[in-house]
Symmetry: C2
Subunit: 219 residues, 2 copies
DNA sequence: AGGAGTTTGTGAACGTGAGAACAAAACGCT
DNA sequence: AGCGTTTTGTTCTCACGTTCACAAACTCCT
């Protein structure tokens, strides 16, 4: 049982990666309830998935359970956190301090999950005097300086659609290689830059589609 | 060219449903640019997908293109909108008027995509005096009345995690069958109720995972 | 009219993901 | 120690999603 660090380098399926944070959150909840050991069935229920899927997902990370017993909550939590980079501190910048930017800046889940907001930026100079959630708002032009100073790899775009592409371009120029985009537009970025989008109207439209189908089927 | 409504009843793959709103948005952008006909290649580029995938997606709706020519932008736009329920008006309620609720209430994309906010609700009575985006904020207890009055099928949850499940329960009781959940928690709902979740920290953690891998591979 | 050039719609091949089912491994009881 | 019980880790199968590749169908030009 040698500690081969090569274990950590297998590539984990994308679908699994997307669920690991959910498991992590469920484990934290279990810890808060004072539970120190759980079965795959219990954890799966807490995470809202099927237990076979949970076990298969965890098997990509390694063998961290004990047959006949279950998983040690704290140990598994540490292993998942390590795998998804939750044990390190990720500096993040947020661009666009409108209503949404305010909500994001005030979001408490950042710190507890290893993210630290090191910059709030807005193109409006009037904005750049206030401070939000204890963090001063600075002019958009300061992006390269802030990014360089803190080694920022992750940026959040919370500006209107028309401005989003130019913000993304500036982020890429500033060395940011992962972008979370809230603007309802398809971003164009070079190879090697990851973009994830969060799009309210798309989600609503998907719900509306299913809602319409339910209505039709009910006839 | 008879209007056979039977066309609309085939079931469309989930992955395709999730992309149709993106195509719709791209078509609107093309219209704004004065473009009235486009090829699958052009539309696919605008939507950020591969052209073969676009054509296959569209083929689930019917044959709305012309070989050797392309798609009529307005006609295709209407067909997609009809398919995903975008031609009707969906009343929506938003529960939780904190920072995020404010951002959602002010979001202009609702109206233009067939959604109408008919209620802003908050448990805090102090909140229930103000109005946001021209819509009065009402106490949470009014949910059943508002839902019944407007025939609301879609609800948005923008409350803290601890309150989310009870809000979801109340929504289900009020006859809401599609929920968009912004709270970082797995909701428990009865069969027949659709839930979609939007989770900031999960998105960030997925980005962090890939960021970490990039860093490791760079060694 | 006929042929060259385009572009759609779709069948077939391939890859990824989900779930069932079971062998392997640990525990506890006698 | 041996046996039954529990629960993991993994294999196998099926369903879903993506991409390729090409025939069908349309336009335009001569």
């Amino acid at each position: 049982m040698t500690a081969r660090s090569s274990d950590g380098n297998r590539d984990i399926p994308e679908a699994t990666v997307a669920r690991l944070p959910v498991y992590l959150r469920a484990l934290v909840a279990l810890t808060d309830q004072g539970i120190s050991v759980c079965s795959s069935e219990e954890l799966a229920t807490a995470a809202g998935v099927n237990s076979a899927k949970l076990r298969k997902d965890l098997s990509y990370l390694g063998s961290y359970g004990t047959r006949g017993v279950g998983y040690d909550v704290d140990y598994l939590r540490y292993q998942i956190a390590r795998e998804i980079g939750g044990t390190q501190d990720w500096p993040v910048v947020i661009v666009g301090i409108g209503n949404l930017g305010h909500a994001l800046a005030n979001f408490s889940g950042f710190r507890s999950r290893g993210f630290r907001v090191v910059g709030l930026l807005d193109a409006d100079p009037a904005m750049a005097e206030a401070s939000v959630a204890g963090i001063p708002v600075r002019p958009f032009a300061d992006l390269p300086a802030i990014a360089a100073e803190h080694g920022v790899a992750i940026g959040v775009i919370a500006v209107p659609a028309v401005a989003a592409q130019s913000v993304a371009d500036a982020m890429v120029d500033a060395g940011i290689s992962s972008i979370l985009n809230f603007a309802p537009i398809v971003l164009n970025v070079p190879e090697g830059v990851d973009v994830r989008k969060v799009d309210l109207s798309i989600e609503l439209q998907i719900l509306a589609y299913h809602e319409q189908r339910k209505a039709v089927q009910a006839l």
